[in-house]
């Protein structure tokens, strides 16, 4: 994307960048709309139901109707809530979810900012969302919200460590933090994709990512049977919608990141399939990861809170550290 306009930035190129980014934001909003629809449909089918089928043909306008409803709903801010922080919290949790997408390369030519610190940028920004969640829980001045916010923050910081360390193996193999360079290192068939040489890292990454997303089986912060709704219990209307939006944009971000880091990005599984454009391969792998998250939600029960922290610190963290040294030793023996 940035390859079109070499040289210093001018007002024209700035306007063009801005318009393209706006278009991308609209694509993301469209994706979120239909990801929610697709999630409800898929889970419906897996449970032997139809899912949404009333609003529009095949229920396709269901989410649009839901968003319109949220937009015209009265916005109540409890009297005891800390008003400024209460308003700020959903914005803080949404902004990083969108900003991390700037560095994801979709194909060789379709990307926004090909930063040479790509992974670090993603990891650093995505942890800011935790602050938004804990702030929302605190500012609501509600017991359920405070408990949900605290749990959520504890869970997210605990699983962020294995998530970040499991990527170190990938960085060692490609010798770069730049996401496009990591994808380039995986070209030439699926046996070069990082999920095979980095199988431990891949599994740790997936489990930690599901937990980072607060999705089933790790959706304790939003456990409706014990905490009503968790940190966003006092939020209504569009402020609530921004928490949901942040969650689904993170699904997009994590699915893209998994594709880029472990599933070969835009590369086809076999070299002779090169004639199919890269973006289709990217979308195929991306959709599979998104489907996988929905599939988990329909299949798994929720883990208990005492098992949750144990899994993160006692299983995933040691595994991700061991993965680094296995990678290093295998590299020393076979590739040097």
């Amino acid at each position: 994307m940035t390859g079109w306009l070499p040289g210093p930035i001018t007002w024209q190129s700035f306007t063009l960048y801005f318009l393209v980014s706006v278009a991308f934001l609209l694509v993301i909003l469209g994706y979120v709309t239909y990801a929610i629809y697709f999630e409800r449909k898929v889970i419906g089918w897996m449970q032997g139901r139809h899912g949404p089928n009333r609003v529009g043909p095949l229920g396709l306008l269901q989410t649009v109707a839901d968003v319109a409803k949220l937009l015209i709903k009265e916005d109540t801010i409890p009297k005891k809530a800390q008003r400024d922080l209460f308003i700020l919290a959903p914005v803080i949790s949404f902004v990083p979810s969108f900003v991390v997408l700037a560095t994801i390369p979709f194909t060789e030519t379709l990307y926004f900012a090909d930063l040479n610190v790509g992974i670090l940028y993603y990891v650093a920004l995505s942890s800011i969302s935790t602050i938004g969640i804990i702030l929302g829980g605190w500012a609501s001045n509600n017991k359920y919200a405070l408990l949900g916010g605290m749990r959520s923050a504890a869970q997210m910081i605990s699983y962020e460590i294995p998530l970040v360390i499991s990527v170190v193996g990938v960085i060692m193999l490609s010798g770069s933090l730049q996401l496009s360079a990591i994808v380039e290192g995986q070209s030439g068939g699926f046996w070069n994709w990082n999920f095979l040489p980095q199988i431990i890292g891949f599994i740790v990454f997936i489990v930690a990512a599901v937990s980072e997303l607060n999705r089933t089986p790790f959706d304790l912060p939003e456990a409706e049977s014990e905490l009503v709704a968790g940190y966003h219990v006092e939020y209504s209307g569009f402020r609530f919608a921004f928490f949901m939006l942040a969650e689904y944009v993170y699904v997009f971000a994590i699915a893209s990141l998994t594709t880029v880091l472990f599933l070969g990005g835009w590369h086809p599984p076999f070299p002779f399939l090169d004639f199919i454009p890269g973006i289709l391969w990217f979308l195929l792998k991306f959709s599979f990861v998104v489907f996988f998250l929905f599939w988990l939600r329909a299949t798994f029960p929720r883990v208990r809170v005492d098992q949750l922290m144990g899994l993160g610190w006692k299983v995933l963290l040691p595994l991700s550290l061991v993965n680094i040294f296995i990678t290093a030793i295998v590299y020393e023996i076979f590739f040097r």
Binding site: I72, P78, K79, N116, I165, S176, G310
Partner: protein, 120 residues
């Protein structure tokens, strides 16, 4: 392609990320009703009248997790540059990193034995 142009795009993304909530909530203010009643503005507590203060002291356990997080997050800050340069550094750097990580593992085992990760 100038490298700093990439950060112009990042800045545009940040501005857009802030603009979307501002625009959507302003638009919503024109569309939505606003009839605050004092009952509506009370804190939700399953339909009961809220009891006591909500900003309670929370469990000390969360603080310990935050402490562990800081230690291992700093570790990753050291791991990342090491991993990028690993292919040039070779075996000596591997042994060094092994010593560094095993020191931290000792801390992890200590926390484990002190039952920090037990939730009861």
């Amino acid at each position: 392609m100038l490298y700093q142009n990439q950060y112009v795009i990042v800045a545009i993304f940040i501005v857009l990320g802030i603009l979307l909530p501002v625009v959507a909530l302003t638009l919503g203010r024109w569309l939505r009703p606003n009839k605050p009643v004092s009952e509506k503005l009370t804190t939700y507590e399953s339909g009961n009248v809220p009891v006591g203060e909500s900003h309670i002291r929370f469990n000390i356990r969360y603080y310990l997790f935050a402490l562990m997080f800081v230690i291992f997050d700093v570790e990753t800050v050291f791991l990342y540059p090491w991993a990028v340069a690993y292919q040039q550094l070779g075996l000596f750097a591997l042994v060094e990193m092994l010593i560094f990580v095993s020191l931290l593992i000792v801390g992890l085992i200590y926390a484990w034995k002190k039952k920090v990760f037990k939730w009861s």
